[in-house]
Every structure is written in structure tokens, then in C-alpha cells.
């Protein structure tokens, strides 16, 4: 390549889009860190999350008179806040991932069923959508927990029902408009089964919109789970989650605020990161917004 100045026409303007803004990069980094912590919890945790250190109860974190023995301090029973934080991140992320996937699968399936069968099935799905819209999700979740008691599986399934109606609406709307387009009709004419039509042809075409909805639902589920656990009605001891740590730390708000602040900051940064990524993805991917 000669160093001589090139004519303008020879250097076509690069149409590459600019990279993600710094806040989104931060979001990806933080999320990667959280995933690493969740996956490697057993390796990196300094102590077991239930281990007691009765000689160092309520010891403050480093920078506030604490020692490297317990970098983020300890709680009333001398349990290491960092270790509990690590396991809480794992629990909260696991629940949020499971619930997000359940919601997306259930909602999308019902949306496709409505679009495929129309008629009575569609009316039933729409009535269910109305039903979920008529109850604030927290109230619904609390009632189900009251009726059935609490277990981890129930909690994940319950949170999975959050936002299913959004996926159902999107999947139904987009499947209906896809059905009116040439490709779906062509595949059907070629004799493809409904499974193949929706799974191999319609789904990939609407996947970006669904992924954006998942990114937007994920932080909401983290907030719901931490809210329920904060109230003492979500994740039950000895298991620990970010919300239940805050709920526990609340008792020591004046004497040991670090018990509460560490998980609170983690919740905020995690939901913030996923929200930023979700907004950015929506602007970039979602064809319905262009």
C-alpha cells in the first residue's frame, strides 16, 4: 500500500458500526465477573458460607478497621461476608437464569399455539394474558407461596411465570405476521410440519426480539427474587441469596452496615449492567423498533 494520499473514491467510508458505549462495556465486564464468580464459587470462596468464626463477630471490612482475614467483614455469627456474597451471587443468578428461560419457553410456546390454532385456543391464551396483567406479579407470587409453602423448585417455576405474557404477545404477533409472509407459506406448501415451521423457520426470524425481551426480564426477575428473599419469603436459610443477605443485614443496619451494603451494591450493579445491555441490544437488534 503506497503512502501517497489516496483519492476519496478509493477509500470507501467504513460502515462498521461504532462499538458499544463505555457503560455497556462496563455492563458486559461486570456480568462476566458475576458469571465467573457464580461458576467458580467453590474454588474462590475463602470459607464455607455457613462457617462460623465466633472470635471475629461483626468485624468490619478492610478500610474500616478490618483485616485480610475477612476482607468484607463478618456478620453477627462471624460468617464471612465475602463467602456469603459469592454463594448468594450463585443462587440469585441461577434462579434468575432458570426463571428467565422458563418464562421465555412457556410464553413463546403459548404464543405460537395461539397463532397456529387461532379460534378458541387463541382466546384462551389471550384470556390468560389478561389474567396475568390483572395481578401485580409480587402479589400473585406471595399468594402461591402462601398456599403451597416454599421450595427452591417452586420459587424458580413461579418466577418463571413472570413476564411470560410478554413473550406470548410478541411470539403470537410476530408469528401471525410471519404467517402472512412468503417464506412461512412456502415452507408450509413444501409440506413442513408445524414443528419444523415454527422451530426452524419462524423462531430464528423472531429470535432477536425474544432475546431482547429476555434481557429486559432478567433484571426484573433478580429484583423480584431479591425482594421476596428480603421479605423472608423467597430463598430459605441455610441457602442464601442477595436479597436474603440484605434482609438479614437490615437487623444490623446501625452496627454493621457492611453486611447489607455488599449484597445491595451487587444487586444494583448486576441489574444495572443487564438493563444497559438490554437497552443497547434493543436499539441494535430489535427490528420492530426500526
Amino acid at each position: 500500500m503506497p503512502e501517497a494520499p489516496l483519492p476519496v473514491a478509493a477509500a470507501p467510508p467504513r460502515t462498521r458500526r461504532p462499538g458499544p458505549p463505555p457503560l455497556v462495556v462496563f455492563g458486559f465486564c461486570w456480568l462476566a465477573l458475576m458469571l465467573a464468580v457464580a461458576l467458580l464459587a467453590d474454588l474462590i470462596s475463602p470459607y464455607a458460607y455457613t462457617a462460623l468464626d465466633l472470635r471475629n463477630r461483626l468485624s468490619p471490612p478492610i478500610g474500616f478497621g478490618g483485616t485480610w482475614l475477612h476482607p468484607l467483614g463478618t456478620d453477627e455469627l462471624g460468617r464471612d461476608v465475602l463467602a456469603r456474597l459469592i454463594y448468594s451471587i450463585r443462587t440469585s443468578l441461577l434462579i434468575a437464569f432458570g426463571a428467565t428461560i422458563i418464562g421465555a419457553v412457556v410464553g413463546t410456546t403459548l404464543g405460537f399455539l395461539a397463532a397456529h390454532f387461532r379460534g378458541l385456543v387463541e382466546q384462551a391464551v389471550l384470556a390468560l394474558v389478561d389474567f396475568s396483567a390483572s395481578l401485580p406479579f409480587l402479589i400473585l407470587a406471595l399468594s402461591v407461596l402462601a398456599f403451597f409453602g416454599n421450595s427452591m423448585v417452586l420459587l424458580v417455576c413461579l418466577l418463571g411465570l413472570h413476564a411470560w405474557e410478554r413473550y406470548a404477545r410478541i411470539a403470537r404477533g410476530l408469528a401471525l405476521s410471519a404467517g402472512a409472509q412468503g417464506y412461512a407459506a412456502a415452507v408450509r406448501q413444501l409440506g413442513a410440519s408445524p414443528w419444523r415451521l415454527y422451530g426452524r423457520h419462524v423462531l430464528p426470524n423472531i429470535a432477536s426480539t425474544l432475546i431482547v425481551s429476555m434481557t429486559l426480564a432478567f433484571p426484573e426477575i433478580i429484583l423480584l427474587e431479591s425482594g421476596l428473599s428480603f421479605l423472608g419469603l423467597g430463598v430459605q436459610p441455610p441457602e442464601t441469596s442477595l436479597g436474603s443477605m440484605v434482609g438479614y443485614g437490615r437487623e444490623y443496619l446501625t452496627r454493621a452496615p457492611w453486611i447489607l451494603l455488599a449484597p445491595a451494591v451487587t444487586i444494583v450493579l448486576t441489574t444495572l449492567s443487564v438493563s444497559l445491555i438490554g437497552d443497547w441490544l434493543r436499539d441494535r437488534l430489535d427490528p420492530t423498533l426500526r
Binding site: 402462601a146 404477533g173 423472608g232 446501625t254 444494583v268 444495572l272 420492530t288
Partner: protein, 311 residues
Amino acid sequence: MLRFLLGRIGRAALTIAMVVTFAFVVLRLSGDPAQIIMGADAPPEAVDAFRTAWGLDQPVWVQYFHYFGAILSGDLGRSMRDGRDALVLVTERIPATLALTLPALLIKIGLGIPAGIYAALHRNSLADRIVMVVAVAGFTVPSFVLGLLLVLVFAVQLGWLPSGGQEGWRHAILPVITLGLGGAAVLARFTRSAMLEVLGQPYIRTASAKGVPWRAVVTRHALPNAAIPTVTIIGFMVGSLIAGAVVVESVFSWPGVGRLLVVAVANRDLAVVQCILLLVATTMVCANLVVDLLYGLLDPRLRSAPRRAGA
């Protein structure tokens, strides 16, 4: 117009019927309702009397209609903690909750909507960026964290305000701010995107191209159209006036409906939970009905169309 009205009212009634059905099914699935509602240590003759009173010795379909009838006549069972009528127990708590949620609603609307409109009209300005950062933060900071931080600063460190309880208006300040700020952030974000969408429409360009002053374009053309999606979310906020403060009431030990619900769930006091569930659903459905009717006023096109096909 009458058809539109009747259709909407019918849909609302159907939704409430579904919530009642849901409560019925869940109650039946979770075990013997007589035993659960009366409590494990209730005398057998009381349980039998309850069975007969609620028709639990009858086939499921008959039971279902009996259940429906009992709920329509306002018989929602008794709290298993003190044997008081669940409906009375819940309605007693409503004023305390409204004392928090009504002022909070005013903050949400008074702060959120103007901020959203201003941000949209000055897109990409410094003010817009500040509003958006605050709005995203307001969405991502859970209300219990915000509430506890406010307690830490204003009650523990500065000692200006009480940290909890319900003795006077000073006790309501922190919970109202906690509720109001979070909602204002959501509303600002929503209003902003609704405004931006409207401002990009061809009729706005037409109006300004034909020389309508910008102020008039905004007030006469943009705001009424942007109001439609915003009214939806305000309707949701009005609908959750009774139950929208579950977490915040718990943070501030405020004796409202939300606190009652949490205690009832922890004690599995099913009659009270069921009563709150039905009350909240009814409020929500009524609020949604009003929103639907407002749509009809705001957007004449929706009066005839039964339901939009898309998402």
C-alpha cells in the same frame, strides 16, 4: 360506543372471574381447605360445620358455584390468627396504605412526566442524559435498598427523621419518598420514549412544516398522542395503590395492607391472603377498565377496533 363499553366491562368481569377461579383451584390443590382455613388445631365439629357451610361435602362443581356465591356475598372466610372476618381485617389496613401510596403517586406523576417530556424535547442534551441516568438507576435500585439507604442517611446518621413505625406524618416521609422516586423513574423513562416516538411521526413534521409554532405542535399534537401509552402505566400505578407498597411497608414497619400480606403469607393465613388477592385483582381490573375507557376518549380509532392484532 355502547358496544365498546359493554365489551370492556364484560372482559373485566371475565378476568375477575378467572382470578376467583384461580384462588379456588389453588386452594383445592393445596390440601383440605376446611382444615387449612380453620387451622390445624380446630375442633373436628367446627371443621365439619365449615365443610357443610361451604358445601365441601358436595361435588367439586357445586362447590365451585358455592364458592363463587360466597365471595359475591362478601364472605371471604376468617383469619386463622384471631378468627376475625378477613375482609374487615384487610379493609381496616387500607387507609394506612393509601396514606403512603397516594402521596407517592403524586410524586411519581408530578416528577416523572415533566422530566420525561423535558428529556424527550431536549434529546441528547445534558438534562436528557441526567434524566436517563437517574431513571435507569431508579429502576435498578430495589425499593428495599433505596429505603434502607434513606434510613441509614436520614434516620441513623443525621437523625432528622424516624426510621419506621406510624405515629405521625413525619413517619410517612421516608416511605413516600422511597415509593415515589422509584415510580417517578419508571414513568420518566416511559414518557420519554412515548414522546420520542410521537415526535418522529410524519404528522409532527407536517405540523411544524406548515408553520405551526413549536409550542403548539408540542401541546396540541405531540402531548395528546404520547398520553396514550403513558396513561396505561399510570393506570397500572393506580391499580396497585392498595398493594404496591408490600416491600416498602415491610422496610418501614408500616401497618398497611402489604405488611398484613407478608405476615399472612409467612403464617399461611390463607383466608387473609385470598381476600387481599381478590381485592387487589378487582382494583387492578377496575383501573384497567378505566384506562381502556380513557383510550376510547384519547384515541377514537380504538373505539371500533376490538383488539389490536400485533404485540
